[in-house]
């Protein structure tokens, strides 16, 4: 029973973190057909912003989230303009995905190492947005921070869902993802929409970074692990499928929780990669993805 509660709690927490980081990646892949390797760096930047706002300036967590949102939104937009926009002319090339994979990766390299120059390598402690914890069941302990994080993650996922489903620009993003030419015929200005989409997705990662920062600390390579985990989630969920990403996030959380409790934490990443290999072989399009097509 303790095991079961432990698994459940771990699943919800891990799943929510993964969801928040991965959903931005899915949004970008669905819309622009690029696997944005700079998303991990956005998590890292979110962490440093949180450190600056909460620790250095001593301001409130709400401001930390707002600043992280703004900073990573701008940075994501800039990343698109620098590393993707100049390549859009090659969009029909089958290697477009690969080229942008490499350019966004280059951006990640630059961001990580600039952060190293600016902030230095040491881990910085980010004050938890909320402190304290609650004992749920027989020693299964849950910090309020984790509850808040899961709550905010779910809030943002629902918010994104509403935005994409109900607003003019949200619908435009989906339209572009499903049929670029048709969307342009509707008058959707893709040259503006793309940077904004990438900014939006990056800001989700940035907000995740605020919360992760207080768990994992802020340091230059803090984005590597979230990036790898997000990659696993988006592949598992099917590239470009938002609902798939959310299911996959919790499924991966569950697999990880079970692995940690019954096999050992060293093995959770290799086992996840193993799962991914199997998924890619058996069902290449992932949990909910459509073969060869990216649709939000």
């Amino acid at each position: 029973m303790t095991d079961l509660v432990g698994i459940l709690v771990t699943t919800v927490i891990l799943g929510s973190i993964y969801g928040l980081v991965a959903i931005g990646m899915t949004l970008i892949y669905g819309t622009l057909r690029i696997l944005d390797m700079s998303q991990g760096s956005m998590v890292m930047i979110g962490g440093f912003v949180a450190w600056g706002v909460l620790v250095s300036a001593g301001w409130s967590p709400v401001l930390a989230i707002l600043f992280a949102f703004a900073a990573t939104f701008l940075l994501g937009t800039a990343t698109q303009l620098v590393s993707v926009q100049p390549l859009m002319g090659r969009r029909n090339s089958i290697d477009f995905e690969m080229i942008t994979f490499i350019t966004t990766f280059a951006v990640a390299m630059i961001l990580t190492n600039v952060a190293l120059e600016v902030f230095g390598p040491e881990q910085r402690n980010v004050t938890p947005v909320i402190s304290g914890s609650v004992d749920i069941y027989n020693g299964v302990n849950l910090p309020y921070q984790s509850i808040a994080m899961a709550g905010v993650a779910i809030l943002f996922m629902v918010g994104l869902w509403a935005f994409l489903g109900m607003t003019r620009w949200g619908m435009a993003i989906r339209a572009v993802a499903q049929d670029l030419d048709a969307a342009r015929l509707m008058g959707v200005p893709v040259s503006k929409l793309y940077p904004v989409t990438m900014g939006l997705a990056s800001s989700l990662a940035g907000i995740a970074g605020v919360f992760l920062g207080s768990l994992y600390f802020a340091y230059p390579s803090a984005g590597n692990l979230p990036l790898l985990e997000a990659l696993i989630v988006v592949v598992f969920g099917g590239l470009g499928s938002l609902s798939g990403t959310v299911y996959a996030a919790y499924a991966i959380g569950l697999i990880q929780a079970v692995t940690e409790i019954f096999i050992g934490t060293t093995w959770d990443l290799p086992i996840l990669y193993g799962v991914i290999i199997v998924v890619l072989i058996v069902r290449p399009q992932g949990l909910r993805g459509k073969p060869s097509e990216a649709r939000l």
Binding site: M171, D179, R184, R295
Partner: protein, 242 residues
């Protein structure tokens, strides 16, 4: 008033190094209903896509409403009142029919009036209204075509271009589609249609342009064109006999 709404002069366009349209001239007056016919693969679709900005012209000029528009992005051309219903409808497959229609009103001037436009389209195409909540990919071919037409009507257009309205549809669906087109013509919408033969368009067209090998080879009314034996035998479909 004497200047045509759409005027194309010695237009060349294609994909990469392959030129599909070469030195093409065409003009369409306001409230005119013009039809381009011609065999498959000779550049009809490319022409519409070039006008809409989806294909970049390598030479020549496209003037719309007196302004050169070639070189502009498709979204700017779309915002200036050029509406294209592309081949294969171009519906957003994972969106509901209603969301598809709403996307038709994306341009900000139309977005404000989206509710009225929606009502108008629904009254025009009751079948589309029945399917409003369904995902576009679940529709039948005829319903899809009507939805695409409906989506085109969500926006104030100065010219409505439709690429092969009858392509791949069952006869009964073709009738429905052309019924709708006839109604648009009634309302003095400027139309530019592309069809492979005369069979369905005879009743709705003011002028015909025959496109072969990437250029317009003949222009005239239906009667003028069918006088030519060669044209008649090549482009008169079975519908004429019946």
């Amino acid at each position: 008033m004497n200047e045509p709404l759409l005027e194309i002069r010695s237009l060349s366009a294609g994909y990469g190094s392959a030129t599909v349209i070469q030195g093409l001239d065409l003009s369409v007056r306001a409230h005119e209903s013009a039809v381009i016919i011609g065999p498959n693969g000779h550049g009809k679709t490319t022409l519409l896509r070039a006008i809409a900005g989806l294909v970049r012209a390598s030479e020549g000029e496209v003037r719309f409403d007196g302004v050169p528009i070639n070189g502009r992005s498709p979204e700017r051309i779309a915002a200036s009142g050029v509406v294209l219903v592309p081949q294969g409808d171009g519906l957003f497959p994972e969106m509901s029919v209603e969301d598809n229609l709403l996307m038709g009103a994306f341009v900000s001037s139309s977005w404000r009036r989206r509710r009225e436009s929606l009502e108008r389209v629904y009254s025009l195409f009751p079948q589309v209204k029945e399917r409003a909540r369904q995902q576009a990919r679940t529709l039948s071919g005829g319903e899809r075509r009507l939805a695409a037409l409906g989506r085109a009507l969500m926006r104030t257009s100065k010219i409505l271009m439709i690429d092969e309205p009858s392509l791949g549809l069952a006869p009964i669906a073709i009738d429905a589609v052309y019924g709708a087109i006839a109604e648009l013509k009634e309302r003095e919408t400027t139309l530019l249609l592309v069809e492979e033969n005369f069979s369905h368009v005879r009743g709705v067209a003011d002028s015909f342009h025959l496109l072969e090998m990437g250029t317009i080879v003949r222009t005239g009314s239906y009667d003028e064109l069918v006088k030519d034996e060669e044209i008649a035998s090549a482009y008169l479909g079975s519908a004429v006999e019946s």
